[in-house]
């Protein structure tokens, strides 16, 4: 009984060894190297990067590794942009979100962006954007804009925003915000 189990174990080891003898292709060698794989992964855009978490446990742990993510290189070409819609009949300001990735696949890639979560939603314009964050300013049609203008930093993906506090020195300078870069 004991000898037969030893034999079986040996057989198992043998068969595992035969699979290990298979030669790796060059691609598998490159992907098998953690350093090289992470070099490739940091050059992927965000969406495929996170989709590839499901490839294997190793890929998942590499993609979750903060040291790898720190070196992430954002893609050079934009993946989507916002289109401002003008209307002759109302002062409302609306934006369309145009995605460049799924333009062919999904007809609904041109979806309106609702800035509903702002109090003065109809008058919010996007003044600057950087790394997927937007600097929004509420514009006032009248001349008294200086007193009412507010600035927000908005993440359109999560729809989270925070209001930039007004300067405390008593003089309101909304235009100083326009030189802010985020």
């Amino acid at each position: 009984m004991a000898s037969s189990s030893v034999q079986r174990r040996q057989r198992r080891r043998l068969s595992v060894n035969t699979t290990a003898n298979l030669t790796l292709t060059a691609a598998e060698k490159v992907i098998g190297d953690d350093d090289l794989l992470s070099r490739i992964l940091i050059r992927l855009p965000a969406k495929p990067l996170f989709r590839f978490k499901t490839v294997s446990k190793r890929w998942c742990s590499l993609i979750s590794d903060p040291y790898v993510l720190q070196r992430w290189i954002p893609p050079k070409s934009p993946s989507s942009f916002f289109l401002r819609r003008y209307s002759r009949f109302s002062h409302n300001i609306k934006f369309n979100h145009v995605s460049l990735n799924g333009l062919v696949k999904h007809n609904r890639s041109i979806a309106p962006l609702y800035l509903d979560f702002f109090d003065d939603r109809d008058l919010v314009i996007i003044s600057k954007s950087c790394n997927g964050l937007m600097l929004c300013t509420s514009s006032w049609p009248g001349l008294d804009c200086c007193n009412h203008c507010r600035c927000y930093v908005l993440n359109p993906t999560t729809q989270q925003y925070s209001t930039i506090p007004r300067p405390v020195d008593g003089v309101s300078r909304p235009h100083s915000f326009h030189q802010l870069s985020i």
């Binding site: 060698k29 490159v30 070099r39 490739i40 590839f52 490839v55």
Partner: protein, 155 residues
Amino acid sequence: MSSSLEKNMLILRSSDGEEFIVPEVVAVMSKAIKNMVEDECASNTIPVPNVDANILAMVIEFCKKHDESEAEAASDLKTFDSEFVNRGQEALYDLITAANFRDVKELLDALCQNVAEMIKGKSVHHIRIQFLGYQLFEILTSNFIWNIWCDRDFD
């Protein structure tokens, strides 16, 4: 170092014995060779194991271009890079291994960018088949054998 200023030549020998004569300024774009030269442990001929003549020729071509055009416009270099990478499609992964092994950063970056662009539109299933074929096979077979093993013991 004074020797690198004199533009003297080095001979690189690939794994299949072919020899390439390159200026030292080009050869030291590879950090591995640079270290060897600086430590003065290299004689005239530097063996480059694991890299065959084809791949070595491509790497040298890339290094030469980058060395010459350091002062040139960056856009020229970019078009050269993309052309170079496109030509090296079949040998892409061998090139990456060579660039990594010889530590040529510019080449490695250009090649990794190319791989990233290739795989970014692919499905997870495709990635698994292309890159993890071997590992999956191993996992499957070892599981299969393990299952037989368990079944037998329960009999």
